[in-house]
Symmetry: C2
Subunit: 91 residues, 2 copies
Amino acid sequence: MMVFDMRVTAESIFEIDDAENIYRAVLPESESNDFERSVVDISVTDTGLLLNITANDSVSMRSALNTWLRLVQIAYEIGEVSQPFFNEEYR
Amino acid sequence: MMVFDMRVTAESIFEIDDAENIYRAVLPESESNDFERSVVDISVTDTGLLLNITANDSVSMRSALNTWLRLVQIAYEIGEVSQPFFNEEYR
């Protein structure tokens, strides 16, 4: 598949409550260097998470976005599902 | 698959030359209402294309982003490949 150089930047904002825990869960992935053609930065904001990705082409952008949207979704779901076990009724 | 409501917005900037033609090629897709759980807006800027997507959850965001990144990539490649045929040597 031809890959044409086309610089792409994507800023994604997730409005979620449990941002700090999700951030800690996915942060190690940002330190792995699986993404040669893109750079990922994730941070916590007062309304949720901010995900910034810069890539050299839209194919690399799609790959990085897919991975990170999935990582955030999974971390979010685990938090939602496991929440009851941290509440009073299970202590 | 559980889908949790988690509002996500993504702003993607494509730094490309042929933005006006790519914009015209992909614009009809933004008028189709295939994306119930996300809203897509694409516009031309002085450095390329600006793609704004808002979605109710990250699964819908991934679907819309994948579609739109692919649409822009294909329109871009068609422009690159067909360019010689519009140049002097083929007239």
